[in-house]
Symmetry: C2
Amino acid sequence: MKNKSTFAPMRKIRVFAPATVANMGCGFDIMGMTLDAVGDVLSVEIGEGDDLKIINKSKQSLPDDIEQNVITPAVRAFVAAYGVPMDITVTVEHKIAPGSGIGSSAASSSAAVYALNELLDHPFTDERLVEFAMEGEKLISGGTPHADNVGPSILGGVVLLRGYDPLDVVRLPVPGRFCCAVAHPDIMVSTREAREVLPKEIPLRLAVKQWGNVAGLVAGLAEGDVALIGRSMKDVVVEPYRKHFIPGFDELRNKVLEVGALAMNISGAGPSVFALCDNMTLADKVGEVMKAHFLQYNIDSRIYVSKISNRGARTLADYNFEG
Amino acid sequence: MKNKSTFAPMRKIRVFAPATVANMGCGFDIMGMTLDAVGDVLSVEIGEGDDLKIINKSKQSLPDDIEQNVITPAVRAFVAAYGVPMDITVTVEHKIAPGSGIGSSAASSSAAVYALNELLDHPFTDERLVEFAMEGEKLISGGTPHADNVGPSILGGVVLLRGYDPLDVVRLPVPGRFCCAVAHPDIMVSTREAREVLPKEIPLRLAVKQWGNVAGLVAGLAEGDVALIGRSMKDVVVEPYRKHFIPGFDELRNKVLEVGALAMNISGAGPSVFALCDNMTLADKVGEVMKAHFLQYNIDSRIYVSKISNRGARTLADYNFEG
């Protein structure tokens, strides 16, 4: 940690933290990638005192009790490590729909700790910020915290969480043509529920298949080989248990592969799905196929078509310093 | 397959196929790397007819029944795909000790199919040669064939077997400073025995840890980050079951890490162990520590200190064409 800066009695910043796709098919709990232009916008204000307030100005409903908001444990972890109490007011201006499976909780906690680090002149490294934001993930996952959404939301790009003890965050290169279509169907699957369907033990044979794919995915990223990435983005371990939350999952995959997507998988714990594409025109088309698919089941969906971005959490220029 | 060349009534070649380290710690059944200057030397002679002979001129004892020799199914698979019967005489001139855990069977079958492909003017790709050589591995593993030794023995470097259906062989870059010390203690562990101790199911939690390490290993190779490779070369799935075959395994690892090795693991199914080092001087020192360790247990060992080589099977120049 760098020296603590004395902070002005009132300072404010407005930040954005992007939505993210965790797991990326085979990389359950260890990988995530960053979307472009969809995410949370927070204003964070600090001053003297020792109080935390969270104000919701977004269209999403958030828990009234701040103890149930992921921002709270993340901010508390930051302040505890910083060692100086302060008044903090977080205003949630824009929020990804909770339960979307594109890292909605991670975007909030990432944005909050990123904002504090900016306001206090960067006392912590990005890796430490990931650790603080993970406290938010702990709250919603009901146990072991994961960093496969907060990692990319803070750092951007594709992020590998090699291990957690100690946390080992590795940023992987993102091939230029790497983009995807994400559909967030209007159904609710909680992260906790999605965790509970998983078996405690898996066949060694399937585990080997999965880590062969993980190796192929990382090699494909390193070599910019989008076809290899596509071949490797297969989840033989977790998907069989989770795909039942998503109406017509196998049928949808067949449809999007048919129009040219390289792979389709569940995003994070679902219910969002994402399809890897090697160009944006195709991704747009795939998005339409996804939209039409869910409508067949009388389910509306939000479609995001996005390049995979190298940028993570960032300051929004329009009111960087307010007196 | 290219057009079949008509071959002279008698042609002969002498080839070398290197020893290999399969698994590389975390990459059980999916990765292997190629050693330098240790391996099998075979002479292969073809002519008209339909007979296979294997002559052993090496110091190792080989089965009298050629049906029990790994060379046989590999050669037969090659000839079946080639579609023209021929007389084949394989002379084993030099052989890695069987049961060494550095791909002794793979070196033989790789050398044999490589030699035939050279003699017949390359009818097959390297990937097809890997498939033929895998038939030899099938014989000794008593079931599912693996390519984590034959892959690197034929192609050289670090080889990833992403999947087997269809076979997906990916060559990974080898960092310049990447070298290792291997100790082959004079104890016998069969591949079959080493397979039989493995559980059919493993905890999902451990599988995730393993594929985090696999991802770190591949990322480390891609970025030439030897420290990341070292941190990632940890096997939490298979090693706990196999290390008991190797006297004082944990103690030995502590010793070699203390002198500066980056990681130590079982090579393939054992009983050989290998330690990753970032320079040859250190690898020499680690080799001595290994030798002394096994002597404490009254076990002699062969020590190999080697860079990881980018060269796989190759023709030895000294009698390329004999009349």
